[in-house]
Point group: C2
Chain length 426, copies 2
């Protein structure tokens, strides 16, 4: 079978657009498991490969509403697992504010509960506000990535600590475990000391998938070593293709093939039956954006307070800032190319939190995705609907059938675990 | 309505009896969410008030099988929430190996997911093996309880950090939050420094219930201050009544009424249509116990390696040991009363991990529970079936109708959250 486009759903209950919840009939929260389940079932109807649930470890009412009021990812996706069958379940968890034993165990548990659909979106937590909730100070970018590398190593060791066949369960002899197949990991490194094993047997996938989003230099090194799926922030096909080639090139030295890593740029599609209809939808969405909300979001994304600046003047110097490294790079590169004002920049960020907005007729959207996919810019896309449900349903009902007709998208789920479905090595 | 008996289900997938899984047809694991859901639905059929899921933070194949191979509690109960409607969901989480922000958030999430049924079984983690999984050393009993007191305070503050009405969600004005109703907690104590708030709104119950099992002096002080439900290990009605009266007496100084705390001794019922039938079932179960398994369990429970001792000699001096404080006290007190050998003690522990075994006809079991309930030894019981499903179903089908007929047990669930159902103050 020829290569096909992969789709992830980036899930924020109120949509990726900062004011998506204001559209009449839109889902207006991220704490109602019935609404969240309905979205995930819709993703499954659209044969999506996986759901990405981002996360943050602070509460800032000035940021995106679904950052400040949200269910915790692992509990949420365990609940979702019970009413879905195929879609992968990717939960974000931090390597800076957490510990490897608890994390390895939690994702192993989700993997058992979901029948092999768990994925860990490994992040270092860029927002320094998190530190105050954990009684500590925020490590700098380089240190966070050093910690993260070791953290992931430990987690992988813990997932591997139980061999196949360790659970014997023979009622005749009374042998429950083959203790020789359950191993301590005895990890001792600069940041972590973990004996192991975990008290849960080998996950159905062997190990849950590892997702990663860091676009910085150490982020890419980490991804090339450990990640099964990378999602990226991009505004430009050329930049995306450059990133794609660069990251794939890093795989070989880690003994991995190009097909072992799936790269998914983030995109907020706004789709209409015609281009005019799509444009009108986007204009409607943007009409909800007010200065305060948008600057709050922008300040959060750049980790710099931008309130009070002249909106129609140039973008102020943001100084040296290691938060949202790749994100800031993509944004500011586009802003420079297009000679943006601060207002232009905030509109861009308000629309899809800085991700690429693809607005057009279904045919146009399908053409563009195909173009990216076939020109070496993407293995698929992390779809970030601006609002739910219409903003997602439109994409499923209008765009996917076109891609299916072109042989670019599957028409049914494959069997097996998430790892099997994505054709990733064990 | 007069006072009625409360029932909790203490859930270990392979049953509380160490060899329960060896009975033909018994559930033989604790990692299959379908089997676990079926057990929880059975609890709901029996109108049980809540499920207690214990936990441990180490993997020891010599201990109880369901300690070493198990789903993680919060992910498990979130999944269970989707296929139950009424039963309370009590997950164990440690105040020694965790952090208050993550814990408060996780249980708030379970409370939202379950529609107000979450309960936190707060433990200090007595088994010192846990420490090695977290790169640290195990704090002693006194210190663990000091940490625990502060930890619980912080968690309660975090649950209270969002006022009612903080979520405005007005699409007209674009106001999503009333930021004045979302408060930092700014906690700074000897053990924890937490700014808050959490990024999830006020839990449906106001705050999830707090469960507690510590029977030691500091454990009782903590329970009298914070716990909504206490479950206890006991082997004797007199001792249970003394504990009950003592703990209830501690409530007043904390400004609480006696009815604000529900005390549930643990009991493993083995029920038959006749006493003889019940005895035969228990004998069958006990026939599966071998020396090695039972001594492994006993060593784990007392945190002292007892392998190699003469089984038919006296119980060796266990020295000073702060692990399983209340548990060890109850066990050794009974052993002394009854002049037990080590073999007698291990049989007792193998049967129900040291908890009270109540074996008899349905009528006898109902009579005894009623006697305990009416004589001030219990508000209800934490039921620990030796195996699933029969070991549980027998109790539901044979014992509960007798108690219902006597007006001692409800015939339907009340409406509302778990807190409402138990009549506990907000």
């Amino acid at each position: 079978m020829s290569r096909q486009i992969r789709f992830g759903l980036f899930l924020l209950g109120t949509g990726s657009h900062i004011s998506g919840w204001r559209l009449p009939g839109a889902i207006d929260g991220f704490e109602d498991i019935s609404e969240i389940t309905a979205i995930c079932q819709e993703a499954e109807r659209g044969l999506f490969d996986l759901i990405f649930m981002g996360d943050n470890l602070n509460a800032d009412p000035a940021a995106h509403p679904s950052y400040c009021s949200r269910l915790e990812p692992l509990t949420m996706l365990s609940a979702v697992a019970m009413n879905t069958r195929h879609v992968g379940l990717g939960a974000t968890a931090s390597t800076t504010y957490g510990d490897p034993w608890t994390l390895a165990r939690g994702f192993a548990s989700l993997d058992h509960i979901s029948g092999g659909r768990a994925a860990w979106n490994s992040v270092t937590t860029s927002n320094p506000q998190a530190a105050a909730n954990f009684g500590t100070t925020h490590p700098d970018h380089a240190r966070r990535y050093e910690m993260s590398g070791e953290f992931i190593e430990v987690v992988k060791k813990l997932w591997g600590a139980w061999d196949e066949g360790a659970l014997v369960k023979d009622p005749e002899s009374g042998t429950y475990f083959d203790a020789g197949k359950i191993h301590a990991v005895d990890h001792e490194g600069p940041f972590f000391k973990v004996k192991g094993p975990v008290n849960i047997s080998r996950p159905p996938q062997g190990r849950p998938l590892i997702l990663q989003a860091g676009g910085s230099e150490p982020g890419q090194e980490l991804a090339a070593k450990h990640a099964d799926v990378v999602f990226t922030v991009t505004q430009d096909r050329g930049e995306a293709a450059e990133f794609y080639a660069g990251l794939k090139a890093r795989l070989q030295k880690n003994g991995r093939r190009e097909s072992d890593l799936v790269i998914l740029p983030g995109v907020m599609p706004v789709v209409g039956h015609t281009e005019a209809e799509a444009r009108a939808k986007l204009a409607r969405l943007m009409s909800f954006v007010d200065d305060e909300t948008a600057l709050g979001m922008l300040s959060e994304r750049f980790n710099t307070d931008l309130r009070g600046h002249n909106l129609d003047g140039p973008i102020p110097d943001l100084g040296k800032n290691d938060a949202y490294h790749a994100f800031a790079k993509a944004m500011l590169s586009k802003a420079k190319r297009e000679n943006m004002t601060l207002r232009d920049l905030y509109s861009l960020v308000a629309a899809a939190r800085g991700h690429w907005v693809l607005c057009g007729s279904a045919e146009q959207v399908a053409d563009t995705l195909q173009e990216w996919f076939e020109s070496g810019a993407a293995d698929g896309f992390n779809v970030m609907p601006g609002w739910f449900m219409d903003g997602f349903t439109d994409f499923i009902d209008l765009v996917l059938p076109i891609l299916q007709e072109r042989g670019l998208y599957k028409t049914a789920y494959a069997e097996g675990t998430l790892r099997d479905k994505l054709g990733l090595p064990a």
